[in-house]
Symmetry: C2
Subunit: 490 residues, 2 copies
Amino acid sequence: MARQMFGFIALLCLYAVTQGLPSRHIQTKHHEPNKDQPQFKEKYFTQILDHFNFNSMGNGTYDQRYLITDQYWKRGYGPIFFYTGNEGDIWEFALNSGFITELAADQKALVIFAEHRYYGKSLPFGQDSFSIPEVGLLTVEQALADFAVMITALKPQLGASECPVIVFGGSYGGMLSVYMRLRYPNIVAGALAASAPILSTAGMGDSRQFFQDVTHDFESYAPECRDAVRGAFQKLQDLSEVEDYSRIQAAFSLCKPPSSQKDIHQLNGLLRNAFTLMAMLDYPYSTHFMGNMPANPVKVGCDIMLSGADLLQALRDTAGIVYNSTGILKCFDLYSLYVECADPTGCGLGFNSLAWDYQACTEIELCFESNNVTDMFPPMPFTEAHREQYCSKRWGVIPRPGWLKTQFWGSALSSASNIIFSNGDLDPWANGGVRKSLSSSLVAINISEGAHHLDLRSSNDADPLSVITARKTEADTISQWVKMERRRSK
Amino acid sequence: MARQMFGFIALLCLYAVTQGLPSRHIQTKHHEPNKDQPQFKEKYFTQILDHFNFNSMGNGTYDQRYLITDQYWKRGYGPIFFYTGNEGDIWEFALNSGFITELAADQKALVIFAEHRYYGKSLPFGQDSFSIPEVGLLTVEQALADFAVMITALKPQLGASECPVIVFGGSYGGMLSVYMRLRYPNIVAGALAASAPILSTAGMGDSRQFFQDVTHDFESYAPECRDAVRGAFQKLQDLSEVEDYSRIQAAFSLCKPPSSQKDIHQLNGLLRNAFTLMAMLDYPYSTHFMGNMPANPVKVGCDIMLSGADLLQALRDTAGIVYNSTGILKCFDLYSLYVECADPTGCGLGFNSLAWDYQACTEIELCFESNNVTDMFPPMPFTEAHREQYCSKRWGVIPRPGWLKTQFWGSALSSASNIIFSNGDLDPWANGGVRKSLSSSLVAINISEGAHHLDLRSSNDADPLSVITARKTEADTISQWVKMERRRSK
């Protein structure tokens, strides 16, 4: 199973994988119509630049991208299924959320995927979007207001004034869909929030939970796998303590030998991140969502770890599943394959990763740690103090812990209605979300064999029963919401 | 009843009255402790300057004023009664909302009156607060976030972490208390919104309603009163058509003769505004809330109108109830007694009026007209086009009609809970608010003999039965909310 590395570092951008919350990633694809795929049209909406300050930019606007298809729609009557775009190119989500279009075909819905400001092609200030102060208009509240204003404006234009709107989202997109229902029940009749870590990102979780749950996935496959991973990291630590950098370079096929503890820290981060991605994307078939991933990557990784090869090389080859899926790389470049940022689960690479880093420095709180006690990784603390230090230096901002909890209902979520919180038991984000129903209309669906928002993906022959059942419940619930909304607005 | 005018124009500032939504006004008073009054302490809270942009002002802060008294509080247990300050000096509201402290004494509550940013002494940029772009941080959303952040921070400091919070507000303050319950159910267990024109200010009403209802108050006292007022305005119109400006000056005791249609328009606005204030403040006892007002000012005004004197002089003397309550003015100065702005019901004078003008130019939509058909006033249209023209010139902003409706639940208010919408039938703002209960926990209370948020005022021997009954229902409901919240948060 070991992968050879060859090819050119210059090609890296083609194979750069993204990390952490899904798809802060970004290779632009050529989207040719395909009769098996929905026929999205790509459009732009003239959007308010600053919803919360009438004087900041002289009432400016920017072009917000969205994808739309009416091929399934019962015109003027069927509901609107609206994806609240998250941290990436909107095409990535449209092409990896086939359940929404399958459901649209069933329920005769109009489908819209709206891109989140500062991601993909929805850059309010073009190439200057990540300068200071231009980046300051990147907030959750602005993104939600974008969606609210867009829906309000598009409905009459599309002849859809009477059509109930259901929002969908995965991961951070799922958080946004929850927030849309909380904030705009006048606009949104219900929300399917798939794998939305709505509690842990608001500082309402245990900082050890995430990497503990990544570990748990590997340990569930085989306790020996967990032990092998821990052993490999220990070996790396031993070598770094005696500064045997050339041995480390050789074992990990690094393009340059490490030369400091900083480089070792970077290597540890890069390796840990590979396990994060395999756990998140542990789908039963191969995917090309956040990079290329084989079917059942946790199994594939553990099989490598337990293949009897040298532990360090096994660790390298397991990481290769993520960083070198095509086997094209001859060596690993520590600082271009992985970039440390304010999100310990990774920000990915490129423009979108800048935007996510900024969000993790402001509203989204992701102070997750590994500690080698509750998880199999080296101790890598990331406290509020680390975060503040990094963010003030990088972006000139001081995070305000607790803001998201203040702003989005914190412990009073139970007074909302019409939200499905779906989570997959394999997903390390799951336990940062809502796992128990909060009321009869705030329903938690737990998918025992599901990874990160598997339920949003197209049906597949390899789908486990648990996701098939979950999708059925989701479809029925959404259909009920649409009926309720028609009655309410009569 | 006719009042003589004498004294000095220079003293005007002392007697300037405010107009429109309550108390955008502002003579600073000397607040001496009085054993009949609650013993408020005046404090300042270090508040985030821009909740919605982490980079706009480098994470700055400003000092937000609040008043607090724990004299009634069952320490650590009793609820917090929090007044969401509106467009004026917070002392004005504290001194004119005695029901809240009476209720606090009954229910052992801690009482806080928080000042709205950009009013009173809560000026984020001091004397520069109304420059562009500094004024841009004056929005409803920022004000709500101020309250949310203040409550969240003060609770643990005060040893009140477990104490349910009930918000109170009158008029625009009542709108804010509704919004607090919609937006922050995690922070606020219920809201008493007194005379909150939550629909008409969001563009969801009839533009003729307001002045029609002002007219109705006078007509209810005596149809002849309405006819006399209409006749007086007609006489003024006739004189202005023949440009008999000296006669107009004499009849209205103007300091300078009018010399143009613009002056006549200003005079009409000033006069109409006097009727607005008498209708809003038609309390059964004399008040000093928005200027000095006699008991039953509508009756007083109509008695003057029907006294048999010359109609123009009668109109002048009726306006004198408002503009010259002490009789100190020798003549009326058209442009200092009344300033036209983006709120046709008046913005008042001074710094607070600047802030309200800005709000009426941005989020608060007040396109009310008089037309002499559905009301007794001269036709004075104020359309969205007028508003946009004025606001872009005055403040460099373009209003976004519909924003408040998008942002604050518009037609889906019925999915909220724990709000009392109280309104007085005498109040021209009433029919811009919620007049029918929307659910068992969204209760409309209509006070048949009440003017603008009479229910928030201290008990008075002259109180009509309808307000006594209303306050009793409010007290019982609030006590229930507090109990519910204790159960919920257990």
